[in-house]
Point group: D2
Chain length 376, copies 4
Amino acid sequence: MQSVLKFGMVGGGEGSLIGDIHCRAAMFDRKSVIAAGCFSRDAAKSAATGHKLGIAPDRIYSTYEEMAEKEAGREDRIDFVSIVTPNNSHYAIAKTFLQHGFHVVCDKPLTIEQSEAKELERIAERNGLLFCVTYTYSGYPMVKQARELVRHGELGDLITVMAEYPQEWVLNAERASWRMDASQGKSCCVADIGVHIAHTVSYMTGLKIESLCADMQSYGTLMELDNNANILVKYEGGATGVYWCSQVAAGSKNGLKVRLFGTKGSLEWEQERPDELRLSVKGKPLQLLSRGRDALYPGAAAFNRLPGGHPEGLYEAFSNIYSAFCSDVSGLLQGKGADPNADYPRIGEGIDGVRFIDKCLESAHDGSRWVQVAEA
Amino acid sequence: MQSVLKFGMVGGGEGSLIGDIHCRAAMFDRKSVIAAGCFSRDAAKSAATGHKLGIAPDRIYSTYEEMAEKEAGREDRIDFVSIVTPNNSHYAIAKTFLQHGFHVVCDKPLTIEQSEAKELERIAERNGLLFCVTYTYSGYPMVKQARELVRHGELGDLITVMAEYPQEWVLNAERASWRMDASQGKSCCVADIGVHIAHTVSYMTGLKIESLCADMQSYGTLMELDNNANILVKYEGGATGVYWCSQVAAGSKNGLKVRLFGTKGSLEWEQERPDELRLSVKGKPLQLLSRGRDALYPGAAAFNRLPGGHPEGLYEAFSNIYSAFCSDVSGLLQGKGADPNADYPRIGEGIDGVRFIDKCLESAHDGSRWVQVAEA
Amino acid sequence: MQSVLKFGMVGGGEGSLIGDIHCRAAMFDRKSVIAAGCFSRDAAKSAATGHKLGIAPDRIYSTYEEMAEKEAGREDRIDFVSIVTPNNSHYAIAKTFLQHGFHVVCDKPLTIEQSEAKELERIAERNGLLFCVTYTYSGYPMVKQARELVRHGELGDLITVMAEYPQEWVLNAERASWRMDASQGKSCCVADIGVHIAHTVSYMTGLKIESLCADMQSYGTLMELDNNANILVKYEGGATGVYWCSQVAAGSKNGLKVRLFGTKGSLEWEQERPDELRLSVKGKPLQLLSRGRDALYPGAAAFNRLPGGHPEGLYEAFSNIYSAFCSDVSGLLQGKGADPNADYPRIGEGIDGVRFIDKCLESAHDGSRWVQVAEA
Amino acid sequence: MQSVLKFGMVGGGEGSLIGDIHCRAAMFDRKSVIAAGCFSRDAAKSAATGHKLGIAPDRIYSTYEEMAEKEAGREDRIDFVSIVTPNNSHYAIAKTFLQHGFHVVCDKPLTIEQSEAKELERIAERNGLLFCVTYTYSGYPMVKQARELVRHGELGDLITVMAEYPQEWVLNAERASWRMDASQGKSCCVADIGVHIAHTVSYMTGLKIESLCADMQSYGTLMELDNNANILVKYEGGATGVYWCSQVAAGSKNGLKVRLFGTKGSLEWEQERPDELRLSVKGKPLQLLSRGRDALYPGAAAFNRLPGGHPEGLYEAFSNIYSAFCSDVSGLLQGKGADPNADYPRIGEGIDGVRFIDKCLESAHDGSRWVQVAEA
């Protein structure tokens, strides 16, 4: 039997939604429990959050450096750390914990620079550590089913991909939030949600982007970074795609949607109705696959929790990622070795995301010309 | 600050979906943690489940009587018990725990007989104990928003109610499961899901059923109990309604849907898309209210967890019920007294459900004649 | 080749929507052309409408009696008459034209009294005349496909039927229109739209109603007749059903919807999305059949006009009824005899509708008790 | 009162769907009636079609040149001609009829070359003739309502436009049909349906395309012309857009869909549900506008035919275009002059379509680089 892992968190102080989600997700399947944390650079706030989470006072830290060092010295040390801080701090924190021998879960985008992401990969590999990047949407069972349908050839050869992720929050923002602030990174919209498009498509299809052409805009005043991007994509092998992400699309909540069109069929998945998958097979009526009701491939069925018609949502999808990661960590700790097929997003996918952002910026800043994405 | 409560569970051994749901829901908001349990009449199975949940061996019990007695004698005794056993055992178990001074959470339908349900109510009242009946769907924020819209007069006077709950599982069952077995109760479909219709409508509208006319059927072979029921309803005050529940409705997963029509507007809520509410106000275009995006009344907003477009599902709705119940128990333990407005379903609603089942059976068994439901 | 028939119209003066629809529908497929009419009891209004329609002045009549008589005497007499007057005049007008040897198209409900409807049937049979009752919705290709699916056993044995037809217009009416006026008939809502439910279900399934229990209401002031009805139905053979029709259902436009549940599958058709049919077959994912795209049975495909994705609507459905009727009339005129399988609603279906209304009233007026519908 | 116009048709022989649609649409509102035609280059086929349509034998022609000449000489000559032949013949036919003094209705795309289109414009202007290009979708009332909402500022300043038109028929084609044959034109997908996207967006918004970047593909074997195109667009004034058209999108029927996002709100219209418009206004719940039910601006309401909930479809939309055109022709004939605001697509819009196709080809053939569209 798998024992319960202990984890620590960096970031996620009071009022942090994403910290709270990580924390609940990590514990939902009882595979890990929080045991330490540095929730805020403000010691009092950190302590308050830690207290609420029932963490022993001596394991609530004021700096992540102290946390990494002290935890590394404990017999009952944490097994992994979850990093939920602003994007531009991921690199330094992840590096520190990897150097102290901890497995890492880190939110996306992984880092600001590709070089940073690759350095983290090298350290993790050298130290034999597991590294998960929480691309949320790959945790949904029907996204996994989409991947299985592609893998099993149900759509034939892919022809074109339509993927989008519109939101509206920037329209309602009085002024630019930190996410729109250029000191926090090089991109807002593509970095925040564009990478989800790129990852979800890549996860479902295995397609590699060969080149892209990005038209990035920043509508409104005081907006230093992009809040809308229209992107044409060419994949290796000849398929094409269109990606659209926006934070100024009135009426859009969290509209990630992926449509894959192949020579034998097509499918559609919408994040706001995550339990459904629309599948069209040439010559047959459109089918509406339903999680928990219809037969799923084992790779998707393994992550189904509830019978059909009982909705699952974001917490459950996030828990699926933690669940797969924790099982992999446990296997490693028990000497079974890491499972290369364990179904959670790896650091390589994190690097791809950072590269995708960079290439979009490179294209957009040079008149939206086509740029090569595949590495020579 | 609210301290974390301890609870025990009766039922919910391995493979029990509903037990697992209760357990996760009770702990999701960190307001209670499992500390004891009698998960199965089979001691080995009970021990296995308890071990998995991390319960101390001396608090894993073979009988609920032993559990009630021993827990009552501990200094660190559980604060409440959750009962997730088959329906015909609810009464005896709940009674035992109430008599030992424990607050109770019990699944629906509360009991087989109305007299049993009323006896539980008397004991709970006499002992000053809180009693929650887990009518799942009242935990959804948009069901609460529906209730608020009615309360605030947005629909005007209610004219008619259309409510349904179709499922299909009995069609696929090789043979009658225990739920279709007459030794387990007097009704299958109405008792299992018809009560959810009655409760959700009552919760949203406050309407009291004056009389009803039920046509209950048992399609298929070896089916001892009803698996479909068509019910006409008259409410006190003149509104009318139609309830339909079925377990033989091919293609239906978990289709609870309530539509309320009033003199000023109407609304519609579907369990399979719980984050939405369709609202029609006379003279205005149809509106699609979205949890997390659109303004909700405080009574609904208090239960919202995620921003718009990030789906919430069954676990979260169930957690909302436990969350409200736990807060009420904590308040009582801290000497603040119980909160009559705490938003979780009470034992009175459990009694109403049992009465509803009885009245449907009374009508159906007598040629589907109209029977009085309101008590004289 | 089929020659173009000539028809006359009674009713349908300026501002009459239903008259206009009949007129366009009758001519849409160039199988008949309007040649005479008595559009209003007001001679000037009748003349104005006839002029607009390009009818020769001597064939625009002031009374239907004159029209029947004079047209009967012409060499180029009309082949059939379309009756689109208020319900309580259908009987006298239809009788007159039948007696003068004209085939008849009449709007629903056919008559006020069953005896009248049966008398019309006798005269038509005696005179060898064709009689079409325009139950609109049976003209939609996907309704025909539903019928074929049932006929071919795709749903197995029918278990239960859920059918509804909510509208909202009475809520918005300043005061009762003529339809709510008891001098015009015995029922408003059931007579106007309830009969559409009964006919559409009967058309799709062939089920005969054995008994029913109707709760009819008249909400609001000055409403003499019913504007909402909740009806339980038992069919011959054991299936059951629920019919709901309403004219006070806020937010409902023209919401006819039929769902059929059988032992092997179910289907759903909604009038407001007439080109779709949701089909669920046991053990398979839900299918969305699409007119013009997916394979239809010949009986439905024969009425398809446009490729998939190009919407057809009310005019086309109505034209389908006229088209089948005109072809039958032409065949008769050409000496081929009438086609018993020609797919348009017959006078027998008109009689069934009047009987359905009567039986609902009989039940509702006697405490909503169950009444026998099937004739002994 | 408007008299009934006479029109002739070129093309539309038996089996021609588009010819049949034009013919029914032109006559639906009784504003014009067919009086002459050259339906096929095969005289026998032309005669058969003409006979079926009830045209006098001497007005059924074997060549369009003969038809133009002879009709021009008749006292009862046709008022306008409808051209429904393959695209590469539009220019010669239209020119001939314009030169003989006939008003023209022509299907899209107007011509193969921009120079041809502009020449037609010059001749029409010089001769004072009206010229309508049947961009079907602009005939739908809710498309007109979309335009009115934009005009009235309900969406604020437009930020971005997402428009698509996927079909699947090429996937199912055994081999390339004439539309895929390079001898018929320079483009298949963009010319056939891409122009509908460009026109519908332009009609709704008034936006002018400044530059575009088109990635056009031809999937499959034996496909000489494009069957998929992904296009980035920049409009004058700063808004951007994405257009996607495809004939190889499995499961897509006729999926024209336009979404407009502005600073104050957004809207969405889908051709397959033409009676609806989704409108999102900042800070308000999403609204579902319904044709026939909800208040429309006069420019849209004028084209509404049926009460809410009674579907209208393609025939009715097409009829709306003919109706506006016929009224304009009648006004001109009655000496009132042409109405510059008459709501039907003009030759200028036809020219824009041809230019759009050319510019897409220019971009695609040169590595999908950005090309200027706006004329200097």
